[in-house]
């Protein structure tokens, strides 16, 4: 692994390691969605050489979701529930947008992240790349966010030990869950209170805007 990648992994915390569980389908249906404007703001996810790596979260403006090429709608026009947050993850000089959805299952809050307006180069590589959802439990406080993302290694052990049956594909070592939302929710509900099902929690302090 290249030094730069190692540094980035440390900076971005466990969240950005390759061990977070990925899913083709979202954890939410529209009826599960909720809002909490406590999410809105700037959150620190790491620091390198005094430079902060951070998330900016804002409520998605569903009226002005255009801005795509030649006046076409961007991918944000897909999100019209008025319960979508736009997350911009700033890493050094590069930014990436994600759709963030907050939901509640059995009294536990989760967030679901999905990349939006993805640009990958080179173009031939971009043909092959499939965007996926990641999700985890979230605690929202005035001055910090705490996230607990589902852990891929725990999932692999469950599969190997025949403890769960859930549709998934091994993409050269990366597990992709292909089960639909209702099955995902059953999985989340079953393991919500088992700490080993999650990666080490990440604490993101609030930054001044």
């Amino acid at each position: 692994m290249k030094p730069r990648t190692v540094i980035s992994l440390i900076i971005m915390g466990m969240l950005v390691s390759s061990c977070v569980l990925s899913s083709l389908f979202p954890l939410y249906t529209e009826k599960d969605l909720m809002t909490d404007d406590g999410l809105i703001g700037k959150w620190q996810v790491g620091e390198e050489n005094g430079e902060k790596y951070y998330w900016i979260i804002e409520k998605l403006d569903t009226v002005n979701t255009g801005g795509g090429f030649l006046g076409t709608s961007s991918e944000w026009s897909e999100y019209n529930t008025s319960k979508t947050y736009r997350l911009v993850a700033v890493q050094d000089t590069i930014e990436q947008e994600f759709a963030l959805h907050l939901l509640e299952l059995d009294g536990i809050r989760y967030l679901d992240l999905y990349p939006v307006n993805v640009e990958v180069s080179p173009g031939f590589l971009a043909w092959h790349m499939v965007p996926t959802h990641i999700f985890g439990k979230v605690e929202i406080y005035k001055n910090q966010l705490i996230t607990h993302f589902f852990d891929q290694d725990f999932f692999v052990k469950l599969i190997e030990q025949n403890k769960i049956r859930i549709s998934h594909v091994d993409m050269n070592g990366r597990q992709l869950i292909t089960a639909e939302t209702d099955e995902l929710q059953k999985f989340a509900n079953k393991y919500a209170n088992q700490s080993q099902a999650f990666q080490k929690p990440d604490t993101l302090p609030r930054l001044p805007i």
């Binding site: 993850a89 080179p122 590589l125 971009a126 790349m129 499939v130 996926t132 959802h133 990641i134 992709l176």
Partner: protein
């Protein structure tokens, strides 16, 4: 400049809309072939060695044991009939596992990214690599790639002319069908010119050795 930029963006948009990624490969190990005509360096411009312009593809036979010494990325490709492709585009390298098979009277290549760099770490985590496949023709010393057209497939699905497991993504269709289903589709439409992108197929020219 502005026109060139717009054209480039249009081409990118067409490429994104038209390609068909697949979760499963088009091949089973027992289908695999190895053809030495694929080995070597190819480029998009037909240039001489030492004067390479445009993009290049370099195919070599995968030595997974040697690759394992520097990591385990290639560990799952032990068929003995895997090509390692190093694709250079816009000054950036990416490595792909490539497999050759024959279905009906046509040859096909399956591409899967193995080593690549996506700078944004969080984005990298949320992009999963998938298979892409296309029909290959060996013409003279060159190779010609014909890519399946996502729009053609979408129309077939919308008009109930074909049933194949898939998921619609924002800009493309993702095939979730297993290998058997994929091969059935490819056998059925492999000779239908409309099933492939409605543009010139991609020709990759074998690098010529300059005369001394």
């Amino acid at each position: 400049m502005k026109t060139r930029l717009i054209l480039t963006m249009l081409i990118i948009i067409i490429m994104v809309v038209s390609c068909i990624p697949s979760l499963y490969p088009l091949y089973r190990d027992k289908d695999l072939l190895f053809d030495t005509r694929l080995l070597g360096l190819f480029n998009t411009e037909g240039n001489m060695i030492g004067d390479i312009g445009g993009d290049t593809w370099e195919f070599e036979k995968l030595d997974w044991q040697a690759e394992n010494k520097s990591g385990s990325d290639w560990d799952k490709f032990r068929s003995g009939k895997t090509y390692k492709l190093i694709a250079l585009e816009d000054g950036k390298n990416a490595e792909f596992a490539v497999h050759l098979i024959k279905l009906g009277k046509n040859f096909y290549l399956d591409f899967f990214p193995v080593k690549y760099n996506i700078e944004h770490v969080m984005l990298d985590m949320q992009l999963i690599p998938a298979h892409i496949f296309g029909k290959i023709e060996f013409v003279d010393n060159n190779i010609v790639m014909n890519w399946f057209d996502g729009e053609f497939l979408t129309n077939l699905i919308d008009s109930n002319k074909v049933k194949i497991s898939h998921k619609m993504l924002e800009n493309s269709i993702l095939l979730t069908a297993n290998t058997e289903e994929l091969q059935k589709f490819v056998r059925k439409y492999g000779d239908n010119t409309r099933a492939f992108l409605n543009q010139d197929p991609d020709t990759m020219y074998r690098n010529k050795i300059p005369k001394i």
